[in-house]
């Protein structure tokens, strides 16, 4: 028996992680408290090892005094893995089912939330071009990580990805020549500049910022999986509030709206992929 009330319900490591999250939130305004812990912990430990910090507590000190160290951590915490036409059958559904509906409108707004380095946005732009409706579209592409956003804006990708991108493009129902959409230069593929014309890239944090604009299609794929249920619900609420009636919500194929408060506001639009239509 001890007289001090030591809290043994929480491991020291988890306590350190909670304090780190709190420091990041107070100092930089990024709130990771609702992120799934197992992945967050792995990422924090990765930064710990690679930055040769002494401990998670030691990282907190560096985070407070070195902005550059925070930038590094943010890059590690925001998982930016993406590719052109990722999940090609999803893009086939967009091409064959969603775009015909959107085409009836005289102006179309699309929001990519969590766009990472932009591959998803340019894939969409290609579909819109091929459907002949690009000029009627305004595309907003947002992420909370400025480093990836800057890359997205540039539209320059490693040439080594092109083979996979071309394969995905074809699987998504693309019948044109994919080479039309980029110029190869040294080790890079530079996206065709006409694809960029109607895209607006902007910094937006789904956890702390509000409704972005009223749009007809929201794409938020492979972002919600990093949030715990309460945060997923909050963000889904935000996405729903950003959609016009009859607008579409597209999420990642392993994500769901089942357990959220917005289920009743949507009807299932695709049988094979997670595309919903606002009632």
């Amino acid at each position: 028996m001890s007289f001090s009330a030591e809290n043994t319900d929480i491991s020291n490591e988890n306590l350190e992680i909670n304090l780190l999250i709190e420091a990041v939130r107070e100092k930089y305004g990024y709130d990771f408290s609702g992120y799934s812990r197992a992945s967050l912990k792995r990422r924090i430990k990765k930064t710990l090892n690679e930055s040769h910090s002494t401990s998670i507590s030691g990282m907190i000190h560096r985070l407070i005094y070195e902005k550059e160290f925070f930038d590094l951590l943010l890059l590690d915490l925001s998982i930016n893995v993406t590719e052109m036409f990722r999940d090609p059958l999803f893009f086939r559904e967009i091409r064959e089912k969603v775009i015909p509906v959107l085409s009836k409108q005289s102006s179309i707004k699309i929001w990519h939330a969590g766009c990472s380095t932009g591959e998803e946005v340019y894939s969409m732009a290609i579909l819109l071009k091929e459907a002949g409706i690009y000029n009627r579209c305004q595309i907003f592409a947002t992420d909370f990580n400025e480093v990836v956003l800057a890359k997205a804006k540039q539209g320059i990708f490693p040439i080594s990805n092109i083979k996979e991108s071309t394969k995905n493009y074809q699987k998504s129902g693309g019948t044109g020549s994919f080479t039309e959409w980029y110029t190869a230069k040294y080790d890079f593929a530079i996206v065709e500049s006409s694809l960029q014309k109607n895209i607006l890239f902007a910094d937006h944090n789904l956890v702390t910022d509000g409704v972005f604009s009223e749009v007809d299609l929201v794409m938020c794929r492979n972002v919600l999986i990093y949030f715990d249920r309460p945060l997923q619900n909050r963000v889904l609420r935000l996405l729903s509030d950003s959609l016009s009636i009859g607008g579409f919500l597209a999420i990642g194929s392993k994500e769901s709206i089942h357990f959220s408060g917005i289920t009743g506001e949507f009807e299932k639009f695709s049988h094979t992929r997670k595309i919903f239509r606002k009632k």
Binding site: R42, I79, I225, D228
Partner: protein, 198 residues
Amino acid sequence: MRERHFSCIVIGVSAGGLKALTSLFKSLPADFPVPTVVVQHEKADSGDLLAEILDHRTALSVRTAEEKEKLKDGVVYICPADYHLLIEEDKTLSLSVEPKVNFARPSIDVLFETAAIAYGKELIAIILTGASSDGAMGLMKVMEHGGYSIIQDSATAYSSYMPEAALRACPDVDDILPLQEIPSRLISLCRKGSFCDR
């Protein structure tokens, strides 16, 4: 000898996985008392076929893991292709598209490391056939956290590379067993009030 209680099994398998998993799960009863979570290396576009096949061929309920799902006893969860599968400390599942680990997504190391943290000494981890060294580090973490470790006897493995790599990393593994003997070992380990000398 002291009583030991196990609450979860994790399995890592690669080349030759379907056959090995079928044979293993066929010998487990439908009321097996703990959840089992499996990472099998697969091609990115292979869909959810593996869970369907195994569900069909065995008495256990086998399904593709969904994110935020709470682990249930007697259910086998298979990681979907092209995602990492993690176990949270509240015993729910998470998916992630983090970069590949050991050239693999899903990675066995990722599952094992997070499972070790979530279950500690109540975890059993098994490395089966495979042509990769993924899982060796993870198994080490499981042992560090006091979990029980089993490596398939490489002589009975379709591909011996993965069991051998795991054994090199974990020479103190609890069991090295031929595939056919793993189910009965699991049944006796997971029986309520079972004893073991470690």
